[in-house]
């Protein structure tokens, strides 16, 4: 089978909780190596979308294809979350409090059945990259907010996943720290050559980081394009209004 052109493809994916349709017949293609941002107000279905890609929720309808493998087929899951080889940075980080910094990374690698020496090498490499080497034996609760954030990112990257999903990855940080970590995050993602799907409600963040982005509202993607493209020609009144803040800010 030839290498697929896209790393992730969603076709007609829908999800309802009770009577509320959270994601509505959504289709999306993410290309290998790109940083794709989904930008939208809170409650628009962004997080549910990520959880369906990861396999933590099952779509009611639609298909999801990951690196040429059909992971969800017409609303029926074909692969477990574990088999999808995905990295995930949760909004609340979800660091395991009873494991050390090294232990948090090791848990992920051990599940991938990697030998002990190469696990250690990989852990050292990633921790070094995110400036946490000296904390390998520390417990997450002893780290500062920024350090915890970097650990969560390291855990998502450590097993060389096909795709990393980031749910509001910088929202828990204060403004200065956020600006700094944003640049670092982009450089790490490029360096590890992973494809990233980032969900955020922060327009500055999305426009600064994304290769391509999509504006999401009420469970649908309203517009998809490059940051410049979207900014210069907003497709409808919602996008125009939503972007008001950022266009004034950056122009």
């Amino acid at each position: 089978m030839e290498k697929s052109e896209h790393i992730l493809q969603l076709a007609g994916v829908s999800k309802s909780f009770g009577a509320r349709r959270v994601v509505d017949a959504l289709s999306l293609t993410v290309l290998p190596g790109e940083l794709f941002c989904i930008l939208g107000p809170s409650g628009c279905g962004k997080t549910t979308l990520l959880r369906m890609i990861a396999g933590l929720e099952t779509p009611d309808e639609g298909s999801i294809e990951l690196d040429g493998r059909l992971v969800v087929d017409q609303g029926k899951p074909r692969l477990t979350p574990q088999e999808r080889v995905i990295g995930f940075v949760f909004q609340d980080l979800a660091l395991w409090p009873h494991l050390t910094v090294g232990g948090n990374l090791d848990f992920v690698l051990r599940a991938r059945q990697i030998s002990r020496p190469s696990r250690q090498e990989q852990i050292r490499k990633v921790l070094n990259r995110v400036h946490l080497s000296e904390f390998e034996g520390a417990y997450p609760e002893t780290l500062s907010g920024g350090e915890q954030q970097r650990l969560a990112i390291a855990r998502a990257l450590v097993s060389n996943p096909l795709l990393v999903l980031l749910d509001e990855p910088l929202s828990s940080l204060d403004y200065r720290l956020r600006a700094q970590l944003q640049q670092e995050l982009v450089s790490w993602l490029r360096e590890f050559k992973v494809t990233a799907l980032i969900v955020t409600h922060d327009q500055n963040e999305a426009f600064a980081m994304a290769d391509r982005l999509a504006i999401m509202n009420s469970g649908r993607l309203v517009q998809v394009g490059t940051p410049e493209g979207v900014r210069q020609s907003p497709s409808d009144p919602f996008v125009r209004e939503f972007l008001m803040g950022v266009s004034q800010f950056s122009s």
Binding site: P81, Q82, F90, D92, A94, H98, V108, R112, R155
Partner: protein, 522 residues
């Protein structure tokens, strides 16, 4: 917060007087003889082979009961927390029932069953293993509830994050279990302490342990020194264990709040069936079969009615007494718990240990301390009246009420009351108008629990009851040897009926809708 300090000082002092003072008195007394200070009472503990047998029996009973109860209860708690169950609260209520029925009633039922089944089984029930089996079947809800509460508190994200990398088995064993281990250990310890101090089952099955020895020394030989010395090692052991429980649980006393997000370990339909099967087996073994045994023994409704009529005074006394104890315990427990939850004083950890200690102290031990306290020239007018018994039961049940209600108050954000104070309300108005209504369900649940525990109480009652009167459990217990089986069974069944009626009338309103505090924003 401008709370009236005198209120807490008065309540606290009263509590210290009726509950802590007797224990201290007794402890001091164990060092005394007619000639002054002595360690003789303790020396005999170490040297006498009789005492060593008691120690051995007590420890084996407690250790085995705690182990079996945890092995039974923890998986049930896991299923309660992790399955997508229809009517979860109804299963929980059915599973908790054996904890609320006094263990000696289950014991009597099993003895009847043994009598009908086989000679060997009947003989086996009158042994240490028999006592372990009966206590395990009545204590397993404790580790079950503790495990369920702990598992529901594990944030779903932690499991989901693991689930992305590993299968559910590794997630369960490497992430979930280590996180709930301290709680499981505390549940184990609680059962250990409670079965160490249980008086009724060993005494029913004629297994000699410390808790029964205390009573024998006191009631048969009226030997205070020996009775208190027999309690001293228990007292020390329970003190150490109470501190351990406090350290393990820390500030996280049984909170009912579930963590945000649905549980990550989505067990399949097959598991739901397996879980419900397990629930049914346990309910059958621990509640339905014993009840059937009793009912078969009674046979005619007429026997039941006749027994009820002839014991109507005891039934009335039990109901009134338990209701009074329940009301007063909730009132005092709320004040003490409020102080515990809102104070910044260092004393709060000590208060926790004290409450765990007093609740888990064997009833006979506390009872003898209480006799010592009330049988003095100064307090003698009260001794042997219902007042002494009421105060004795308060000493037993205020601690558990305070412990649980402190946890309840801690879940209420202080800002709710602060908002009332800032907007011109007095402390009393914010306490009565804001805090109490928003804790309605916790108060009702604790009141129900204390009512049921007080209704089945035996050890303190037997020591402090006014001469010539009786409660229903006491009547049951004292007629064991000289009544026909069907009368015994009828008395047991009456007790169970009262318990079940209370449980399903009041318990429904407690568990039916979710606690108020769940409605608060996170």
């Amino acid at each position: 917060m401008h709370s009236p300090r005198w209120l807490f000082i008065v309540t606290g002092t009263f509590f210290l007087g009726i509950a802590v003072l007797p224990v201290c008195l007794m402890f001091l007394e164990s060092f005394q003889t007619a000639n002054g200070f002595t360690l003789a009472n303790y020396a005999s503990l170490l040297t006498s082979s009789r005492q060593q047998e008691l120690l051995w029996n007590s420890l084996v009973l407690a250790l085995a009961t705690a182990s079996f109860a945890t092995l039974l209860g923890a998986p049930l708690g896991f299923f309660l927390a992790k399955l997508r169950l229809p009517s979860r609260h109804r299963w929980r209520l059915l599973l908790v029932t054996p904890l609320l029925v006094p263990p000696y009633i289950l014991g009597i039922a099993w003895i009847f069953a043994g009598g009908q089944l086989a000679e060997g089984f009947a003989r086996w029930t009158f042994s240490l293993p028999g006592a372990v089996a009966m206590l395990s079947l009545s204590c397993f809800p404790i580790p079950m509830l503790v495990a369920e509460a702990a598992l529901s508190r594990v944030p779903a994200r932690l499991e989901e994050a693991a689930w992305l990398a590993a299968g559910w088995r590794r997630t369960l064993f490497s992430i979930t279990l280590p996180l709930v281990l301290p709680s499981l250990a505390s549940g184990f310890l609680l059962v250990f302490i409670l079965s160490l101090g249980d008086f009724s089952v060993p005494s029913l099955l004629r297994v000699r342990v410390f808790a029964t020895e205390v009573y024998t020394q006191f009631a048969a030989f009226f030997n205070f020194g020996a009775a208190t010395a027999a309690t001293a090692p228990l007292l020390l052991l329970i003190l150490v264990l109470s501190i351990s429980v406090r350290l393990l649980i820390g500030e996280k006393w049984i909170t009912t709040r579930r963590s945000p997000g649905a549980s990550a370990l989505l067990l399949s339909e097959a598991w739901t069936m397996a879980g419900m099967g397990l629930f049914s087996v346990m309910i059958l073994l621990s509640s339905v079969l014993p009840l059937l045994c009793l009912a078969m023994k009674v046979r005619h409704v007429e026997t039941l009615i006749r027994s009820a009529w002839s014991t109507r005074d005891s039934i009335a006394a039990s109901l009134v007494l338990s209701a009074a104890v329940s009301l007063l315990s909730v009132a005092m427990g709320l004040l003490l718990g409020y102080w515990r939850a809102r104070t910044k004083a260092r004393l709060k950890a000590l208060a926790d240990v004290l409450w765990i200690l007093l609740f888990t102290l064997p009833g006979t031990v506390l009872g003898i301390g209480l006799v010592r306290l009330w049988n003095q020239p100064l307090t003698n007018p009260l001794y042997g009246t219902w007042v002494t018994l009421l105060l004795g039961l308060l000493a037993r049940f205020v601690p558990i009420a305070a412990l649980l209600l402190a946890a309840g108050v801690r879940q209420m954000p202080a800002s709710l009351e602060e908002a009332a104070l800032v907007h011109g309300s007095s402390w009393w108005r914010s306490f009565i108008g804001i805090l109490v209504p928003s804790m309605k369900r916790s108060l009702l649940a604790v009141g129900l629990l204390v009512f049921l525990l007080a209704f089945g109480e035996l050890a303190i009652t037997i020591l402090l009851i006014p001469v010539g009167t009786s409660t229903l459990p006491l009547q049951t217990f004292t007629t064991i040897t000289n009544s026909p089986d069907e009368v015994m069974a009828a008395l047991c069944l009456l007790q169970v009926l009262v318990i079940l009626i209370t449980l399903f009338v009041i318990g429904r309103s407690v568990t039916k809708s979710r606690p108020q505090m769940d409605k608060l924003p996170a």
